[in-house]
Amino acid sequence: MSEMLHVDIVVRQGAFETECRFDAEAGVTALFGPSGAGKTTALRAIAGLVPGASGTIRLGERILLDSARGIGVPAEKRRVGFVFQEGRLLPHLTVASNLTYGRHGGRGPTDEALRHMAGFLGIGHLLDRKPRTLSGGERQRVAIGRALLSDPALLLMDEPLASLDPARRAELLPMIERVRDETDIPIVFVSHNVGEVARLAETLVVMDGGRTLAAGPALDIFPRFETDAALGQGEAGALVEGKVTAIDSQFGIATVDLGGEALELTQGGFSVGQIVRLRILAGDVSLAVGDAGAMEGLSIRNRLVTTIAAIAPDRTGPYAELLLGLGQVRLRARVTRKSLFEMGLHEGQRVTAMIKAVSVERRR
């Protein structure tokens, strides 16, 4: 049975304050932001590892922290599994002993559970080895297995892939997805990698400068203007989900329903009925008004009729950022401020979004 996680805390460390507020259910919640945003501090506070945290943390019915009432459950009693960036395996114990080291349930995991977990993570052949003989990716798998075998009610992961090379990262990412799919506990995942967040997150918490800028369902939060700073230059855009409705095998095109409009994808391997998650960069979306959107003789085929939901208030650079609505779907577009001015674009206006590129983040 999955439990809700409620976090509303302030951590004071010297002159620096970190505020973190969000609610999460089962599935992956990404704490996302540039380095120094306070993500790791917030995660450690949820685990009970930092003194100086005030506010409330609730996991289902259990209160882990309620500073107003003087309640602060110590880390070892929180039933919160933590996967550290560097693994932190015990150097003098074998992989098997490391895996069974956790004790949230009172007794350690059974042999049966150990074998199952080792098989699940693909580390069955490493059980008798010592940590120093393992590769970085293997160590991180052991750390994940150890946290899961301790029977946690919540899993926290602090950039578990950051220390790995791209190949190991690509191996471990699906493993974390399987953990997400096969456990029903909330997973809070710290990352500053857009790709990881776009692929994994159900809930997105955007942090910067020690403050929580936005928190909520990933598809709602990702396209917001507040998220742009965390995404970095050129990565601002939208995250959308839609169902594959048709496959045109003659031209190798799959059609996805997006808020009632059809979006054509050229990436292969889809099947009808699949739900796909797509990322569309703001810089890959151009706008047309009036008849221009239906004009013939344009090679861009993905033209979706949308409404301008918001225009970013920042009016200094050469570009203007726009948030577009298409039913429940949110898209982003970037045009020059000169275009914005000359086309007379304003909030509430119907425009045609012309999409030049789409990346597929996941399919299920």
Binding site: A75, E76, F82, Y101, R103, R146
Partner: protein, 228 residues
């Protein structure tokens, strides 16, 4: 070996063994305090622990005599309440040896405790591991090399202790006359040279044995930690 020689060697082993047995857990606690905690007066406490290493042994022996003598502030009540006395007893020799060896025990243990990554303890807490089990599974096994190194070094020092012992509990054959004291006594007598030389041989063998045992144990531990 003559009966007297065997008795002297056994007494020395008993005195040094008892000294280390009692001093080692204390030294571990002190080393852990120094390695992991900051408290007011820490520098002073550290200097105090190192004191027996730097003051003349005779001074340490005299200090023990003042504190633990039958009229002393610690020795007095001990005799009055428990009927226990250190004076002219092998336990007194063990006390002197333990105090003299103490700084040598603390230092290597402290170094090995300081080398333990404190983040491991943090990791264990997130796995629901309590304080006692964290100590038994992290601090103790990872501090073991220092514990052994310190123990052997301290044992060798305790075995050879002379100045503080002779000042505190005198040179009583069969009770406080350890190897060093016996060698000293023999060298004082005109025909003692040959007998002294034999005892010197034994003490060299004992010390060498301790060092070799320590090397073997450390190598074993090293291989264990490296794994295969």
């Amino acid at each position: 070996m003559s009966e007297t020689e065997i008795q002297i060697v056994l007494l020395s082993l008993r005195v040094a063994g008892m000294a280390i047995l009692v001093a080692l857990p204390l030294a571990f606690a002190v080393a852990w305090l120094f390695a992991r905690h900051d408290f007011p007066g820490k520098s002073f406490a550290q200097a105090l622990v190192m004191l027996p290493l730097v003051v003349p042994p005779v001074v340490t022996g005299y200090g023990l005599l003042v504190l633990f003598g039958t009229q002393g502030p610690i020795g007095g009540p001990l005799r009055e309440w428990l009927g226990f006395t250190f004076a002219f007893r092998w336990t007194g020799a063990a006390l002197a040896a333990g105090v003299m060896a103490f700084p040598l025990l603390v230092r290597p243990i402290r170094l090995s405790l300081e080398a333990i990554d404190p983040s491991l303890s943090e990791m264990a807490r997130t796995l629901g591991v309590g304080r006692l089990r964290r100590f038994l599974t992290i601090t103790l096994p990872l501090g073991l090399p220092g514990l052994i190194a310190g123990g052997i070094l301290g044992f060798a020092k305790a075995l050879g202790e002379f100045g503080a012992t002779i000042t505190f509990v005198s040179n009583v054959p069969g009770e406080t006359q350890t190897l060093s004291l016996a060698i000293y006594s023999l060298l004082q007598s005109p025909q003692g040279d040959a007998a002294a030389l034999r005892l010197i041989g034994f003490s060299v063998v004992l010390a060498l044995g301790a060092v070799i045992v320590s090397e073997l144990v450390q190598r074993r531990l090293g291989a264990g930690a490296a794994g295969r």
